[in-house]
Amino acid sequence: MYNEKVMDHFMNPRNVGEIENADGVGQVGNVKCGDIMKMYLKIEDGVIVDVKFKTFGCGSAIATSSIATEMIKGKTVEEAVKLTNKAVVEALEGLPAQKVHCSVLAEQAVKAALYDYAQKNNITIKGLEDFKPVEDVHEHHDEDDEDEE
């Protein structure tokens, strides 16, 4: 179901944990849907010097959180905000079709944390002007549903 890279990030997730007094904290997803991702950023001079996450969710949610932290660590805020779920999926060398949405959660978590950082520091980050995390990223139906009866 998942490829080796995904399983590696799932079994050995990078950057799990919390950052005390983080400069930006973002949480997305909701318990009802069975996934919550929480992202902590330490930002110095516009550069993400540290990042940690905690995730309640499926294997893909954990793997995408893990790789997303790796992808933004050391990057500038401007670079990090450009992280797309597509890039996350590519970095993981693919996800099953019904699990692609989990990568959206990771993208959203990063953005939410950056937005929190922007709010706290009273700045605006290009691309995050009117950020609002999506509540439920799941498509609760699949491709074939429409022709079911």
């Binding site: 998942y2 079994m11 799990v16 318990v31 009802k32 069975g34 929480k38 905690k54 309640f56 699949d142």
Partner: protein, 387 residues
């Protein structure tokens, strides 16, 4: 990691050696079509008759009341659609429960789109249907009650005999999905008083792709597959003789060994439950404390999510399930766990471990030991968990 521990016997079972042995001659030697009149055909027909007879006897039914299908789902579809459409003139109301298998629920939803009304009974916190609500739901338009015998997720056993009595008093047909019951609880159709009951071979160490529907003599039901004259013109298609022969053997073994099987799986299952409850915090056992499938354990681990739990178990060779196998394509939490009143977040952390004939004590101890580690690890990662 080489150890493999299969704890998903409610999803499917390996075929027993004796079953395969029984099937072998029918693949390439005694391969005739049971409808043919020549010796090859008669040989097949004889095997078919013997198999039907064995299964009938095993559940106290008559030979003519057993109809073979391709599995449990087909039989559920047939029972419910077949009775619904055949009795449409008498009424359009069906009663079922909120915790049925999807093969029952989705058929009911289909029927709702075709002019039927369906009442989905509530269950209590243990998953037992509310008999008062059942009685109050029956109207003069009610033609069928369909309540499963043993739930596939949480293992709860329903009061089938009482339901049958209520149904009979009110002149309503009663179907029970006994896919998880066969081989795990004693079954006698007359003692129970059911009108329709279905089974699936692969849940009891028999072959996949074979099942049966018991239809009490006199029940008005439409044929399911139109075509040849097989299954008394009710279910056409060349009979799967090796599969049916294997099914009959599996039923025979299941009935013969019922007591020892129950004892074996219950002992291991209880060891598993005890071990988990003793060694892990914030865990809940779902389903009825006593009235349950002897091999079924269903837990909710708070603060963690089922799929990551399953994957982690899989990485150490342990095969479990979150809810039923068929819903694993879906991302919604189990409808059964919602029906017993769990919140979404707790329902998401469910794990079903089902013990079977080939499970050992070592398997159980290994599983407990691994579960402790995995649950801890996932909780350490969870934003919901505060030590």
């Amino acid at each position: 990691m080489n150890r493999k521990v299969y704890l998903d016997y409610s999803a499917t079972t390996p075929m027993k050696k004796e079953v395969l042995e029984e099937m072998m001659p029918y693949f390439s030697e005694k391969f005739g079509n049971a409808s043919s009149i020549h010796s090859f055909g008669r040989e097949a027909k004889k095997a078919l008759d013997i198999a039907r007879d064995k299964i009938a006897k095993a559940i106290g039914a008559d030979f003519k009341e057993i109809f073979f299908t391709s599995g449990g789902s087909e039989a559920d579809n047939w029972a419910i659609k077949g009775v619904a459409f055949a009795n449409r003139d008498k009424g359009n109301h069906i009663i079922t429960s909120k915790i049925e298998h999807h093969a029952v629920l989705h058929v009911c939803e289909y029927l709702e789109k075709h002019g039927f009304e369906v009442t989905y009974l509530d269950v209590d916190e243990y998953g037992v249907v509310d008999l008062e609500q059942l009685k109050n739901s029956i109207t003069d338009k009610t033609i069928l009650i369909s309540i499963m015998f043993v739930n596939n997720e949480i293992g709860t056993i329903q009061p089938i005999k009482e339901i049958a009595k209520i149904a009979k008093e009110r002149g309503v047909y009663f179907h029970t999905d006994a896919v998880q019951a066969l081989g795990n609880v004693p079954i006698d159709v007359n003692d129970l008083g059911v009108d329709l009951m279905n089974f699936s071979a692969h849940k009891i160490y028999g072959p996949k792709g074979v099942g049966a529907l018991y239809i009490r003599k006199g029940v008005k039901i439409h044929p399911h597959i139109h075509g040849g004259a097989q299954e008394r013109k009710k279910r056409a298609g060349t009979e799967n003789i090796p599969g049916i022969v294997g099914f009959a053997k599996a039923v025979e073994l299941a009935v013969e060994n019922l007591d020892s099987h129950i004892e074996h799986v219950r002992k291991l299952r209880d060891r598993l439950i005890d071990g988990v409850l003793k060694n892990i915090d914030y865990v809940r056992l779902n389903g009825h404390p006593e009235n349950r499938h002897p091999g079924n354990a269903n837990f909710c681990f708070e603060f963690i999510e089922g799929e990551s739990l399953l994957l982690s178990l899989d990485m150490v060779g342990i095969a479990g399930s979150s809810g039923s196998a068929c819903t694993s394509g879906s991302l919604d939490p189990s409808h059964v766990l919602m029906a017993i009143g769990l919140s979404h977040e707790i329902a998401h952390g469910s794990l079903r471990l089902t013990v079977g004939d080939f499970t050992t004590e070592e398997d159980i101890d290994y599983t407990i030991q691994q579960l402790v580690k995995i649950v801890d690890r996932l909780r350490q990662m969870s934003p919901l968990y505060e030590k």
